[in-house]
């Protein structure tokens, strides 16, 4: 499987991660997954909520927590374009 396209939204405050994620995913072919890296803990519930506003178009296929090179906690959101 190819690596998903990655959007690094580290250090960005809401609403920017979702604004950028929407722009990015709408440019992907149907079926592909966008991987968004964020550092805002609020992004976890916000990505869940955003995807629910358009369930025929987007699907949240995963959310993970990690740590980046600067030892910041990261929140990784995997969103698939369904249509």
């Amino acid at each position: 499987m190819p690596e998903p396209r990655t959007l690094d939204a580290s250090g960005l405050k809401c609403p920017v991660p979702i604004v950028r994620a929407k722009k990015e995913i709408d440019s992907l072919p149907v079926g592909e997954v966008l991987r968004v890296i964020a550092t805002d803990p609020g992004s976890v519930l916000d990505f869940q909520g955003w995807v629910k506003t358009n369930p025929s178009k987007y699907e949240l296929v995963g959310q993970e927590q990690g740590r980046d090179a600067q030892a910041r906690t990261t929140y990784i959101h995997l969103v698939r374009r369904k249509a």
């Binding site: 405050k13 809401c14 609403p15 920017v16 979702i18 604004v19 929407k22 803990p41 609020g42 519930l45 916000d46 869940q48 909520g49 955003w50 506003t53 358009n54």
Partner: protein, 382 residues
């Protein structure tokens, strides 16, 4: 041009005056359900997440326009930190919906305070510092120019403002107990002013900074002076070291031991039976032995209805004790009832305790997360 920003203090003043604007809360539904802006009467508040404005702007806009109807005046947009609401406010203004942004969002709303003078007899002055978004209370008590601060939260400048405005000199900082629901500013305030930090040995034995232990049933003396008519009484139960301060034989600062309408939870430390027994004895023997007409000034308020006309949150000791089961049950039954009511402590509490002992640190963003929401220190059923 209309103002595009408002502050928590300005919004609070409008709400208190009965002139609250319509509030558009653009956080996600879970965050909104957990904690939001409240007023003395129900507010006109709509929750419409900001991502709705990104994903379906036309529908979101129509929903706001239907809600506002023919009303004039600006609505106030609110989010977690003030950035998403600024984005929504701009979208709305672009469509001619007058919108003001709450600067700093709920994070700022949860930090802001207002100081209310407490009427005390001659010789002593006191102020109750209300953190209105969260219901946390703290105090400045002064005799002459000498002052102490009790239970300060981490926005320590709010206390300095009161001290400076009144020409007071900070002599000591006191804590009624080791707080678990909010990050204390006591050590920061005491260290910056070079004054002692007084708190109970029972709660602060593991502190990473020097804490002067509070005496029991004795006048608090500060640097050899005994300037304040402030008596320290050990009142364990909510925590093993919980202490109440009796000011001028008139005001009782009870921390989380006694609230306006009930008593503190003994189940937040994982030793419910032991702490409930302590609480029972505190309520019955120690506080029950004081004059029932004493005014109770707690560290938390559980609602707007607890406010008096002068703005302060205060109760009557006898009434608060009557509301608890301590005066009706025997010790065994009280402890059993507390065990049955025991619930989980919010997971952030362990981290907050470690921070308040100086054994952990956190960045501003993490501090905001740790303090999110209302406090949960009161026993829900009395």
């Amino acid at each position: 041009m209309a103002e595009t920003l408002t502050t928590p203090a300005a919004l609070y003043a409008r709400i208190e005056a009965g002139d609250g604007p319509p509030i558009l809360d653009v956080r996600n539904r879970d965050e909104f359900a957990r904690w939001r802006i409240e007023g003395p009467t129900p507010l006109d508040i709509l929750n419409l997440p900001y991502f709705d404005f990104i994903e379906q702007e036309t529908e979101a806009l129509a929903q706001v326009q239907a809600w506002i109807g023919g009303r004039t005046g600006s609505l106030v947009a609110v989010c977690a930190k003030g950035d998403s609401s600024a984005f929504v406010a701009e979208v709305l203004r672009h469509h001619d919906v007058a919108t003001t942004n709450l600067e700093g969002g709920m994070a700022a709303w949860g930090m802001a305070t207002i100081a209310h003078p407490i009427p005390v007899s001659v010789g002593v002055r006191a102020w109750q510092i209300l953190r209105f978004g969260r219901g946390c209370l703290s105090y400045v008590v002064a005799a002459g120019r000498d002052a102490v601060v009790v239970d300060p939260h981490r926005a320590v400048d709010d206390y300095r403002k009161v001290l400076d405005a009144e020409g007071l000199i900070l002599r000591a900082v006191l804590d009624t107990h080791l707080h678990a629901d909010h990050v204390s500013g006591a050590w920061a305030l005491a260290a910056a002013a070079g004054v002692p930090y007084l708190a109970s040995a029972g709660d602060f034995a593991e502190a990473a900074f020097p804490v002067e232990p509070t005496p029991d049933d004795a006048r608090v003396t500060i640097g050899g002076l005994s300037v304040l008519p402030l008596v320290s009484l050990h009142t364990p139960g909510h925590t093993p070291g919980s202490t109440s301060f009796l000011v001028n034989d008139a005001l009782l600062l009870t921390g989380d031991t006694v609230f306006v309408e009930g008593v503190g939870r003994p189940d937040l430390g994982g030793r419910t039976a032991e702490w409930a027994r302590e609480l029972y004895r505190t309520l019955r023997d120690r506080l029950g032995g004081l004059a029932p007409d004493l005014s109770v000034f707690p560290a938390h308020s559980s609602g707007r209805h607890e406010r008096r006309a002068d703005g302060t949150v205060a109760g009557r000791l006898g009434t608060a004790l009557q509301a608890s089961q301590a005066l009706r049950l025997n010790e065994g039954d009280f402890v059993r009832a507390a065990a049955e009511e025991a619930g989980g402590a919010p997971p952030a509490y362990a981290t907050v305790r470690a921070i308040n002992l100086g054994r952990a640190t956190a960045g501003e963003e993490e501090l905001v997360e740790l303090e999110l929401g209302k406090n949960e220190c009161a026993l829900s059923r009395h």
